[in-house]
C-alpha cells in the first residue's frame, strides 16, 4: 500500500524529516506519535503534496506508483486522503457543492459515473448522520463558522464519501471533547476494512483507546526512532517521550 523510504523534507530552509521509513500494508492501522516539532504534521503534508514542503531525498510508493511525482489532486484520485489538523474555511462555497465536486472528481478518476443529485444527497445525508453533523451544515459555506469539533466531523464526512484506500488523520483528536472523539473514532472504525489502511498521527494516547492501532511508531527528530504494538502507546503515556532521547540522538 504505502512504502516510505529514507524520506527527507524541508520547509523553507529548515530540515524537518531526516530519513523516515514506514511501510503500511492493506488493512493496517499505524499510529504515529511523537513530541511537538518532531515532524508529524510535515509527514501528512508531504504525503498529500503541499507545495511549501520540499522533498530533498527518499521515495514514497503508494499503490505501486511514485507518489511524489503526482499532483495534489491525482494523489486523492489514487485513494489518498488527509484529514487536516486545521481544516480550511471557504466562505461562499457551499459544503454541498464542495462535497459533490470532490466526489465527482474522484469517481471520474476511478472510471465511475457521476452520481445523480438524488443519489448524492442520499449518501451525504447518511454520512452526516453517522458523524452526527446536522444536515444544515451541508448548506453552509465550507467549514465556515464551524466549531473545532464540527470541522473534524466534516473531515470524517468527506473521508466517508470519498472512500479512500489510505487515510491519514493528522491530529484529528486535537481540540475534541470526549463525545466528539467517540463520534470521530466510530466513523473511522466503521471504515476499517481489509483493503483500507490508516495512518493516525497524534500527540496523545487517548485517541488510540478508541482507534486501536496494529502498530505504533515514535517519530522524533525527523525519523521513526521506535516501533512497536499498541502497548508502546501506553508506555509513552506513562513515561513521556524523554526516555527515548538516547535513541533520537
Amino acid at each position: 500500500m504505502l512504502r516510505i523510504e529514507n524520506l527527507c523534507a524541508r520547509v523553507e530552509e529548515k530540515e524537518i524529516l531526516k530519513g523516515l521509513n514506514l511501510h503500511v500494508k492493506p488493512g493496517e492501522v499505524h499510529a504515529i506519535m511523537g513530541p511537538n516539532g518532531a515532524g508529524k504534521s510535515t509527514l501528512g503534508s508531504v504525503l498529500a503534496g503541499r507545495e511549501a514542503f520540499e522533498v530533498t531525498a527518499g521515495s514514497v510508493a503508494f499503490q505501486g506508483k511514485d507518489l511524489l511525482d503526482l499532483d495534489v489532486e491525482a494523489r486523492a484520485h489514487l485513494g489518498l486522503f488527509l484529514a487536516f489538523q486545521y481544516p480550511v474555511e471557504i466562505p461562499g462555497v457551499s459544503n454541498m457543492e464542495f462535497l459533490k465536486s470532490s466526489v465527482d472528481a474522484v469517481r471520474k478518476a476511478r472510471g465511475k459515473s457521476d452520481l445523480s443529485s438524488v443519489e448524492f444527497m442520499k449518501l451525504a445525508r447518511e454520512a452526516s448522520k453517522k458523524v452526527k453533523l446536522d444536515q444544515a451544515f451541508l448548506k453552509r459555506g465550507v467549514n465556515e463558522g464551524f466549531s473545532g469539533g464540527e470541522k473534524k466531523r466534516n473531515e470524517i464526512l468527506q473521508m466517508m464519501l470519498l472512500e479512500p484506500s489510505l487515510c491519514i488523520l493528522d491530529e484529528t483528536d486535537s481540540g475534541l471533547d470526549i463525545d466528539a472523539l467517540q463520534t470521530v473514532a466510530d466513523g473511522v472504525n466503521a471504515m476499517r476494512s481489509p483493503d483500507r489502511s490508516f495512518v493516525v498521527v497524534t500527540h496523545y494516547q487517548r485517541l488510540l483507546d478508541y482507534i486501536v492501532p496494529d502498530y505504533v511508531h515514535v517519530l522524533a527528530g525527523g525519523k521513526i526512532v521506535k516501533s512497536g504494538d499498541k502497548s508502546l502507546a501506553k508506555e509513552l503515556e506513562a513515561k513521556g517521550y524523554s526516555w527515548l532521547d538516547g535513541e533520537v540522538a
Binding site: R75, M96, K100, V106, S117, L138
Partner: protein, 436 residues
C-alpha cells in the same frame, strides 16, 4: 467641443418631449456641451479615460422592434416597465399602479412633484452624466408613494439596447417616498449582442422621506459594446432606510456614481455591489456617502473579480460633516485579480470633521488563497476547477446576502455562466436547499 458634446447639443434641441420638460432638457444640453471635458488629471476621472467617449457619435434614440424570447428576467411578481433604447415600450410593459407614471403621462399633480425634485439631487451643473441624461429628457418614470403607503409589488425597470446604430439611450427615474412609505425597484440593463454600442445614460434620483424604506437593485448586464453613464442620487430623511445592491458584468465602459446623503438622523444606508469585468472591459464605481447629521449609519461592501486585461475602478468616499456626531460608517472593498494583466484601482476616501464617530474602511487586492486551493485539491478537485469554485464563492458570499430571493435566483445562473460552472451543480443546490 468634442464630437459627442456637439452632437448632444443638437439632440437636446430637436427631440420632442412634453413641453414642461423642454427648459430642463435644453439646460442639460448646454451644460453638457459647455463642460470642460474630463481628463486623467480630473480627480473624479483619474483612473478612467473618457478620451474615446469624447469622439463617440450617437443618433437620437429610436425604438426598435424587439422580442424578448431569450432574455433572462427576474421571475418576480412585479410591475414591469420596458424601455428600448430609452424609449418606453407600452407593448412590453404592464399596466401601472397609480403611484407610477411615465413623465409623458403624468398628471398635473405628478408634474408638480417631478418639477420639485428632478435634477435637484442629480445636479447637472456638477455631474457630467446627469447633464447628459438631462439633455435628452423625454422619457422618464416617476414613482411617487404617498405617506404610509407601501407599493404592493416591486417596480421592474428593464432597459434594453438594440439595433445596429449607436444611439443615446437615456432613462431618468425619480422616486419620491413620502413619510413612512415603502417601495422596491429593480433596474436591469441589457443589450442585444456584442456589437450593439449605445451610450446609455441612466440617472435615478431617490428622495426617501422620514421613516420611509427603499430597496434598490441595479443590474448592469449589458454586453461588450455598451458605454453606460449611470448615476444614483439618494437623499434620506429621519430614520429612513436605503438598501441597495449593484452588479456589473462589464462593457466598453460602465461607470456608476452613487451619491447618498443623510439629511435626517437615525437613517441607514446599506450598499453592496459586485463587478466582474473581463476581456478588455472597464467598470468604474464611484460612491459617495455624505453624513450631514448625527446618529446615522452606513455600511458598504463591494467586491470585484477582474480577469484578462480588464480594469476596475472603485472609489468609495465617506464624508462625515462636523455636525454628524455618533456616525457609524463602514466600507469594505475586496478585489481578486485572476490574470496578471488585469488592473484594479481602489481608493477608499474618508473625510471626517466630527470627533465622536466610528469608521472602518479597508480595501484589498489579492490572488486566490493558496491554503484553500490546496484543501480543495487534496479532495481531488483539479486546480482550475478549484479556482473557479473559490472565485465564485468570493462573489457568492455577497449574492447570498441579497434580501430578495427572486433576484438571487435570477443572478445565480448568470454568475454560473460567468464562472463557467456546471448547470447541474446549480440545480442540485436548488433541490438540496429545498429539501433541507
Amino acid at each position: 467641443m468634442g464630437v459627442l458634446q456637439a452632437r448632444v447639443l443638437e439632440l437636446a434641441a430637436i427631440q420632442n418631449a412634453p413641453a414642461w420638460l423642454s427648459d430642463l432638457r435644453y439646460q442639460g444640453g448646454e451644460r453638457f456641451a459647455a463642460a470642460s471635458w474630463p481628463t486623467r488629471r480630473t480627480e473624479n476621472w483619474k483612473y478612467t479615460s473618457l478620451a474615446a467617449l469624447a469622439k463617440k457619435d450617437v443618433a437620437a434614440a429610436h425604438a426598435e422592434s424587439v422580442e424578448f424570447n431569450d432574455l433572462a428576467m427576474i421571475d418576480a411578481d412585479a410591475y414591469r416597465l420596458v424601455f428600448i433604447n430609452g424609449v418606453f415600450s407600452e407593448k412590453h410593459s404592464d399596466a401601472l399602479p397609480p403611484q407610477v407614471t411615465t413623465f409623458a403621462a403624468a398628471s398635473e399633480e405628478q408634474i408638480t412633484v417631478v418639477q420639485r425634485h428632478l435634477g435637484r439631487l442629480a445636479d447637472s451643473s456638477e455631474h457630467l452624466f446627469a447633464a447628459l441624461s438631462q439633455s435628452v429628457l423625454e422619457q422618464g418614470v416617476l414613482i411617487h408613494v404617498a405617506a404610509g403607503q407601501c407599493l404592493d409589488k416591486p417596480i421592474y425597470l428593464l432597459n434594453y439596447s438594440a439595433g445596429k446604430q449607436a444611439c443615446l439611450a437615456s432613462t431618468r427615474n425619480l422616486v419620491v417616498l413620502e413619510e413612512g412609505a415603502q417601495a422596491e425597484v429593480f433596474e436591469q440593463f441589457n443589450s442585444d449582442g456584442d456589437e450593439q454600442s449605445n451610450l446609455v445614460a441612466s440617472q435615478t434620483e431617490v428622495v426617501i422621506g422620514n421613516n420611509a424604506k427603499f430597496k434598490h437593485y441595479r443590474l448592469n448586464l449589458e454586453r461588450e459594446g455598451i458605454t453606460h453613464a449611470g448615476g444614483v442620487f439618494v437623499e434620506l430623511g429621519r430614520d429612513a432606510l436605503y438598501s441597495g445592491f449593484a452588479l456589473t458584468k462589464g462593457a466598453v465602459l460602465i461607470r456608476n456614481d452613487y451619491v447618498l446623503t443623510h439629511r435626517g438622523s437615525g437613517a441607514h444606508v446599506e450598499l453592496n455591489g459586485v463587478y466582474l469585468p473581463r476581456g478588455k472591459q472597464v467598470v468604474d464605481y464611484h460612491t459617495n456617502i455624505q453624513h450631514c447629521v448625527p446618529h446615522c449609519t452606513s455600511s458598504e461592501v463591494f467586491r470585484g473579480i477582474i480577469g484578462d486585461q480588464a480594469k476596475a475602478v472603485f472609489n468609495g468616499r465617506i464624508h462625515i460633516h462636523q455636525d454628524a456626531q455618533k456616525t457609524l460608517a463602514e466600507l469594505s472593498n475586496k478585489n481578486l485579480l485572476t490574470s496578471n494583466k488585469a488592473e484594479v484601482d481602489t481608493k477608499p476616501e474618508l473625510e471626517i470633521y466630527a470627533d465622536d464617530v466610528r469608521c472602518a474602511h479597508g480595501a484589498t487586492v489579492a490572488q486566490l488563497n493558496d491554503e484553500s486551493l490546496y484543501y480543495l485539491q487534496s479532495r481531488g478537485i483539479d486546480r482550475e476547477q478549484a479556482q473557479i469554485m473559490m472565485s465564485f464563492g468570493f462573489i457568492n458570499e455577497l449574492i447570498q446576502s441579497v434580501e430578495n430571493s427572486d433576484v438571487v435566483e435570477f443572478l445565480m445562473p448568470i454568475l454560473a455562466d460567468q464562472f463557467g460552472r456546471k448547470e447541474s451543480l446549480l440545480q442540485m443546490e436548488a433541490d438540496a436547499l429545498e429539501s433541507l
